[in-house]
Amino acid sequence: MTPTLRIAARLLEKPWLWAFAAAFFVWLATIVFTGGQGAAAVLTAALAFGTFSVIVGIGQMYVITLGPGNVDLSIPATMTFAGAASMKIMDTQDSMIFIGLLVALGVGVSVGIFNYALIRLLRIPPIIATLSSSFVFQSAAIAYGRGIKIKPPPVLAEFTTARIVGIPILAIFTVILAVIMAVVLHKTVYGRSVIAIGQNPRAAGFSGISVGFTRFATYVLSATLAGLCGFVLSGFSGGASLNMGAEFLLASIAVVVIGGTSVAGGFANIPGLWGAALFMFLLVTMLNTFGLGAGIRLIMTGLIIISVITLAGGKSTGR
């Protein structure tokens, strides 16, 4: 094998490759259809909107990597609550932005602690725990952010929508965040512990890994990132709205699955999240460009998720 071939072979093994390839082809199909018009604009939009799925997707990916039964259903409620709370505290004042960010992150940390407390104290599966807490926090968000939609401080709004040579600043920051989280995943004791627990929790315990603490930290991490996402999304979309988190329950899980992370746990990759987020947005754009309605778009999205999991996911039971 020549070195180039070997590099190509190595590349083909990368689980995130397919998400990027799919995103690229969908983008190509779109611009072929439009005759090259708006090719860059579509990419810019994809980067901007993909950012939010990636932020929550990172948290969800860490949780899912903990192994079967682990999933965070409280992400939408956390986003909404964090967005509403921070917008209200900042009250459109630029000087309060930092405080607002702290509030959003604080909301996330609290939700995470609450989630894990439920899991541990009530000994219930994480799905039920995060489901129940999502009810509570969704309500808290509604009650707290009632009434008029509070606008974000101008500087925050400007920052979240600003671009450098066509690239959204937010996307650049999220890429940096993704890189950091990838390093955490592969290069720190905590990240290794998450992956180890996802593969074999008993063996992890016998290998001196603190299973309880790792799970706790992971649920807090997921909720904190949801809080952060609620904060920037509120800035981006001109204020917190009560259903702004809704689509991110599905989106956060979808980007994890399409991005090549194993739903059975123990195997994760960050780049795939970006590939999947871009793909999901570009797919919708392509179907839009083709003049297809919302119905077809949703059906396609769903079928793609199922196909990906069927092809990549389970092992045959051999019966």
């Binding site: 390093v183 592969h186 290069k187 720190t188 004791v189 290794r192 992956i195 180890a196 593969q199 074999n200 008993r202 063996a203 992890a204 016998f206 290998s207 001196g208 890994i209 194993s262 123990g266 195997f267």
Partner: protein, 489 residues
């Protein structure tokens, strides 16, 4: 062939391999109506595999299964076995814990359907419970999950003997009395005699030699996957049975070196007492010692190791001084991280010591992996290959390397040599001796007699308690078997 025609089941030259391990080695077996066949042998002798073949849950690699004189080898499954009246009570619970006693009977019997099936199911299971275990105190509407282990076992046994459309000609009982008290166990054995007298047949597997001697008509002794003796029960007594089960004494390569106590100086690294044990000796281990845990499988040795592992540094009955690492025996559930490379599997226990600027140092990881590849001889072209690319023996070496490469001063080993080839074993024994000489403490649960000869002290477990504490000088196969089998008989 009048004998063949007469038999319920005949196995001809059945073989079964798991990888390199011969679980069954050309086994012949006949079960005829009206007899109870006792099956004894030490751990790993092949009893359970043989029964799984009979019950249709495992397919033999070689040999014939003949049922009532008809060759049924091809396509022999659980359904075939059931149809021919062959039932099995497995060691692990195979009832549905969410269903009631009567409903569990229904799952077994397709014929229990239509109007009034609940009444019929309840009557069926109660009839058999009453017949086998008079005064059992189990109601047919109780949820199985709410029952004690003993009662579940009773339901399971009664279910195996219950008859609707298919007969129950041959019932295989694999350690049926392990969770029953003496009175209930005696009820079962008495019933087995009645069942047999009525023309049925039973295979009784038990580690309680007394009950096999008193209940069985014939006794089959297995050793190393082969049948070594078949005789009438009356021709055996305890001693001759124990002798038949033991393997031919082999001389370990210098393993039996003279015993010299390492306990003269210093305080013990480990002192512990099994959770359920009231009196009797504590387990003690000093620096540089290799301590063996012996006895039959599942008598509390693994629990002891888990207790030691969880007790860092100390709890009331468990004192552990120094870092601990565990070498798993059940590789798939307790040891391997199946998605990782060999190197990743080795370094995981030590990553805290491989940090540079708070990040895991890849170079140091590679270094550790390649160093241990050489020291322990893991046969692979590349330590970055997936762990599952290795043979079982080499996977086990990687798990040893994980523990040995760590800072652990005390190494717990949970029967780690299961299914490992002889060559690998010898290499690992050597490393264990070297490491012990360097001052590390080994606590080694093993089911293999030969391995106990490497130990300075051997603690024999029975029913979750330590029943004997032998020094290397005192360890003989016979002593161990007697200590292991001498239960409340």
């Amino acid at each position: 062939m009048s004998e063949a025609d007469h038999s319920i089941v005949r196995l001809d030259g059945v073989e079964k391999h798991f990888g390199a391990v011969h679980a069954l080695n050309t086994v012949d077996l006949v079960v005829t109506p009206g007899e109870c066949l006792g099956l004894v042998g030490h751990n790993g002798a092949g009893k359970s595999t043989l029964m799984n073949v009979l019950a249709g849950t495992q397919i033999p690699d070689q040999g014939r299964i003949v049922i009532r004189g008809i060759d049924s080898t091809d396509g022999y499954t659980v359904a075939t076995a059931k149809q021919h009246g062959i039932r099995c009570v497995f060691q692990e619970l195979s009832l549905c814990p969410n269903l009631t006693v009567a409903e569990n009977a229904r799952v077994m019997h397709r014929a229990l359907t239509g109007f009034g099936w609940r009444r019929r199911a309840a009557a069926l299971i109660l009839r058999d419970l009453d017949e086998i275990f008079p005064g059992h105190g189990i109601a047919s509407q109780e949820i199985v999950g709410d029952l004690s282990i003993a009662k579940r076992q009773m339901v399971e046994i009664a279910r195996a003997f219950s008859v609707t459309d298919a007969p129950a000609d041959l019932v295989i009982l694999d350690e049926p009395t392990s969770s029953l008290d003496a009175v209930v166990a005696q009820q079962l054995l008495t019933f087995v005699r009645r069942h047999v007298a009525a023309g049925g047949a039973c295979v009784l597997i038990s580690h309680l030699l007394g009950e096999v001697l008193s209940t069985a008509d014939r006794i089959v002794v297995m050793r190393d996957g082969a049948v070594v003796e078949v005789r009438k029960a009356s021709d055996f007594d305890r001693d001759s049975l124990v002798t038949a089960m033991g393997s031919v004494a082999k001389d370990g390569d210098g393993a039996g070196a003279a015993y010299a106590s390492k306990r003269a100086d210093g305080s013990p690294k480990v002192r512990a007492r099994p959770a359920g044990q009231v009196e009797g000796p504590d387990l003690t281990a000093h620096a540089g010692e290799i301590v063996g845990l012996a006895g039959l499988a599942g008598h509390g040795q693994t629990d002891m190791l888990i207790q030691l592992h969880a007790a860092r540094p100390s709890t009331r009955h468990t004192h552990v001084h120094g870092p601990v690492a565990l070498v798993a025996g059940d590789r798939q559930t307790d040891g391997i991280f199946p998605l990782w490379s060999i190197a990743g599997n080795i370094t995981i226990r030590s990553i805290r010591h491989l940090l540079r600027h708070a990040l895991i140092d890849a170079a140091a990881e590679r270094e550790m992996a390649s160093q241990w590849q050489q020291r322990i001889g893991i046969r692979t072209p590349d330590m970055e290959n997936n762990i599952l690319s290795l043979s079982g023996g080499n996977q086990q070496k990687a798990l040893f390397a994980r523990a040995l490469a760590s800072d652990a001063e005390i190494l717990l080993m949970d029967d780690p040599m299961r299914g490992v080839d002889v060559g690998t074993k010898q290499e690992v024994y050597r490393i264990i001796r070297d490491e012990a000489a360097n001052g590390r403490t080994f606590i080694w649960y093993t089911t293999e007699m030969d391995e106990l000869k490497h130990c300075d002290h051997v603690y024999v477990f029975r029913d979750g308690a330590i029943v004997a504490d032998l020094t290397r000088r005192e360890v003989t196969e016979e002593k161990l078997l007697h200590a292991s089998f001498e239960a409340a008989e």
